[in-house]
């Protein structure tokens, strides 16, 4: 039994939520559906942890779907990197779902709940599927599953701006996905295969035939450009970020917490896979100036988005801009293309998922009690909602990157990598930009603790224990993984090494 499970583990990670979704629709009772979704999410998380353990013990796992070996069939390939990503995506998914009931009750009509949960599960399926698959076209399919469900989830926001935000995201997202599809098409055209490892091999073979010159490099170049741009839209990299602030701001709190913690990270993962797994760092960074392009865009994005965040009165929007800035740090790490930098990028995916997930959960708590995300209404809430407010402080410290929070780990790795590569200006700008986070986090802290309570804050009470407990679990994980880094920075470093040394896709 155990062996059977272990053998089919990669597919179970996807299949369980996928099967549960229609089941949930059929059951259509709010409580049953909720328990089902919870059970599924936690099971998936458990399996994902198991997966990480297996990969760590015995190296990458390959699973041929339906028994059809690549390049004919679709292959699932789990290595250090994607098992790690899947672990935190499913973990945060489960955590946010556990946190959700009170918040959902307040923000989404009860009659829609039984549809909300399947949507949530489908979104998770899509994200997990994008991670686990070793087939490029399959990435596209799962990307669409996650995207469509995300659009629907966002449109559930209570204001009429929510559907508009969802629509804008849909347009941007579909353009991104279509670019991705074009890129995949061109790659297929040049290699005749869709399996990522196989494509990489083909490219390498073509290169060798041509005495180390890149064969068909013009088509490859364009394919690479389209894949990059497509994924950058999904990642919300600076000039292509326009969909994100509205989407995060108008979605229901639970959805924002989930999407902010997971969706962009998975796109970053896909990008890493494309750069390091299919094309090689040599192609991306030596032949092409992708590193320079990436870090200049990242830095400009970090600065502009952080400054924009400072001027937002709407806390969700503030955090949304901060997310755009934080994506910049991940790309900065990736652009270093050495073990330190790449592991900084990877570990920041994880750390930022924890931090942002936690902070948006805190926002959800405030929304539940204050009914607002405007800073003015949050005034003085530190007195009536001390626990929630303190959670904000902890999460905020993580976002700033103070030592013993996980934000520091990523910042430090990024710094040492930049210094190691002698990119001193980048290092300095990166450090200065991180100070902007102090401003936009601390403004809220001051509002919470130093202002006279607003009308709403005066009568507020602390949120239910369940919400506090889950919020503190995520926020506390910030601190835990800031001190105990074996399973965050450690795994990320392993994954980075695997990616850089010998194309172990």
């Amino acid at each position: 039994m155990i062996e059977f499970l272990q053998y089919h583990l990669p597919v179970l990670l996807i299949a369980i939520p996928l099967i549960a979704a229609p089941l949930a629709v059929l059951l259509s009772n709010r409580y049953i559906v909720q328990s089902l979704a919870l059970a599924v999410c936690w099971t998936t998380f458990g399996l994902a942890i198991w997966m990480v353990a297996i990969v760590n013990q015995s190296g990458p796992v390959s699973y041929e779907l339906g028994g059809w070996a690549p390049p004919y069939g679709i292959e699932y390939r789990v290595d250090q990197l994607n098992s790690f990503v899947m672990m935190f995506v499913s973990g945060l998914g489960a955590m946010v779902l556990t946190y959700s009931p009170y918040s959902l009750k307040a923000e989404i009509p009860l009659s829609q709940h039984y549809l909300f949960y399947p949507m949530y599960l489908l979104c998770m399926t899509g994200l997990m599927g994008m991670c686990v698959t070793g087939d490029l076209f399959n990435v596209f399919v799962f990307l669409e599953i996650s995207s469509l469900s995300t659009y629907a989830l966002i449109s559930l926001g209570r204001t009429r701006r929510a559907p508009l935000a969802a629509f804008q995201y849909l347009i941007m997202g579909t353009i991104g996905a279509t670019f991705l599809l074009i890129g995949i098409g061109l790659l297929y055209q040049m290699t005749g295969t869709l399996n990522m490892a196989d494509i990489a091999e083909q490219l390498e073979a073509q290169r060798l035939v041509n005495d180390g010159q890149w064969a068909g490099s013009r088509t490859m170049l364009v394919a690479f450009a389209f894949l990059t741009v497509g994924l950058c839209i999904k990642m919300a990299v600076f000039p292509l970020h326009t969909w994100l602030p509205n989407a995060y701001a108008y979605a229901p709190s639970v959805v924002t917490a989930f999407v902010a913690a997971t969706a962009t990270k998975v796109s970053v993962y896909a990008f890493i896979r494309v750069v390091f797994g299919i094309f090689t760092p040599q192609f991306a960074f030596e032949l092409l100036p992708l590193d320079t392009a990436l870090w200049s865009f990242s830095l400009v994005g970090i600065f502009l988005a952080s400054i924009a965040a400072i001027f937002q009165q709407d806390v969700k929007r503030r955090l949304a801009y901060s997310s755009i800035a934080q994506i910049g740090y991940m790309l900065l790490g990736i652009s270093m293309a050495d073990v330190d930098g790449l592991s900084a990028g990877i570990v920041h995916m994880f750390n930022h998922a924890l931090i942002k997930g936690g902070l948006f959960m805190v926002v959800g708590c405030f929304v539940l009690r204050l009914g607002s995300v405007q800073m003015d209404d949050w005034k003085g809430a530190g007195r009536t909602m001390p626990w929630t407010s303190f959670a904000w402080v902890l999460g905020g410290l993580g976002l700033i990157g103070v030592p013993v929070t996980c934000g520091f780990i990523s910042k430090w790795l990024l710094l040492t990598s930049a210094i190691h590569n002698e990119l001193y200006p980048v290092a300095i700008l990166m450090l200065i930009s991180s100070l902007l986070a102090v401003v936009y986090v601390w403004q809220i802290v001051e509002v919470l603790y130093f202002e006279e309570p607003s009308e709403k804050a005066k009568h507020a009470t602390e949120v239910p224990p369940l919400m506090l407990l889950t919020t503190y679990t995520v926020v506390g994980a910030n601190i835990v993984f800031g001190v105990w880094t074996t399973y965050s920075a450690g795994l990320a470093t392993k994954a980075a090494k695997a990616l850089l040394e010998g194309g172990s896709l």
């Binding site: 996928l18 629709v25 339906g66 009860l110 549809l115 399959n138 599953i145 629907a152 061109l186 364009v222």
Partner: protein
């Protein structure tokens, strides 16, 4: 050869018409025609399955859906005031990049292109031995080697279905439209 050039020309003309036309009814109709022409061309390119699907889905279902939406949401497009220089520039750059990319591509119909030769034995033969002679290889592939994509496709449809229900069903049971979410007073005021 001539048939395909003819169809391609028609496709381009249709696309440009869609871009320029202000009447949404007409635009939707032309989109249907566009899909249909596309389907014709696919038929020429030896892809009857896709052609039929495109004709049914692209020219049929999606036209139907759009007409439905038009009936609910108004049918003329207001002339845009904003300048179209930036979009044109973006499109020009993207297009130029793509054309640049085609320069190293195997030529159209080249039997030696990686697409045709990489997988050996080809899907045609492999499916013959694996499927015991199922004539339509596309179907065979869809159900077997890439059955998983098909499952994903089903999931996409399912997602879209639920999403549409979620979006269109307006139920405010037990909900006072107070300012729970935004102090900027965006309570939903329906157009009615």
């Amino acid at each position: 050869m001539f048939v395909s050039i003819f169809i391609l020309t028609l496709l381009v003309v249709t696309a440009i018409t869609i871009a320029r036309i202000g009447d949404l009814w007409a635009a939707v109709m032309f989109t249907g025609i566009f899909s249909f022409l596309g389907a014709c061309w696919m038929l020429i390119l030896d892809a009857p399955d896709v052609a039929f699907t495109e004709a049914a889905v692209g020219a049929g279902v999606s036209t139907f859906l759009m007409l439905g939406t038009l009936a609910l949401a108004g049918k003329t497009e207001k002339p845009t005031t904003s300048s179209s220089v930036v979009p044109l520039f973006v499109v020009a750059v993207t297009g130029a990049a793509l054309i640049y990319g085609t320069l190293d591509m195997p030529h159209f119909g080249d039997p030696n292109s990686p697409v045709q030769t990489r997988i050996e034995p080809s899907f045609m033969e492999k499916s013959q031995s694996d499927m015991h002679g199922l004539p339509n290889v596309v179907t065979a592939l869809l159900a077997s080697y890439r059955g998983y994509d098909t499952l994903g496709e089903t999931a996409v449809i399912f997602t879209a279905g639920i999403a549409v229900i979620l979006i269109l069903r307006r139920s405010n049971d037990g909900f006072k439209s107070n300012d729970v979410f935004n102090s900027q007073s965006n309570s939903r005021k329906g157009s009615q």
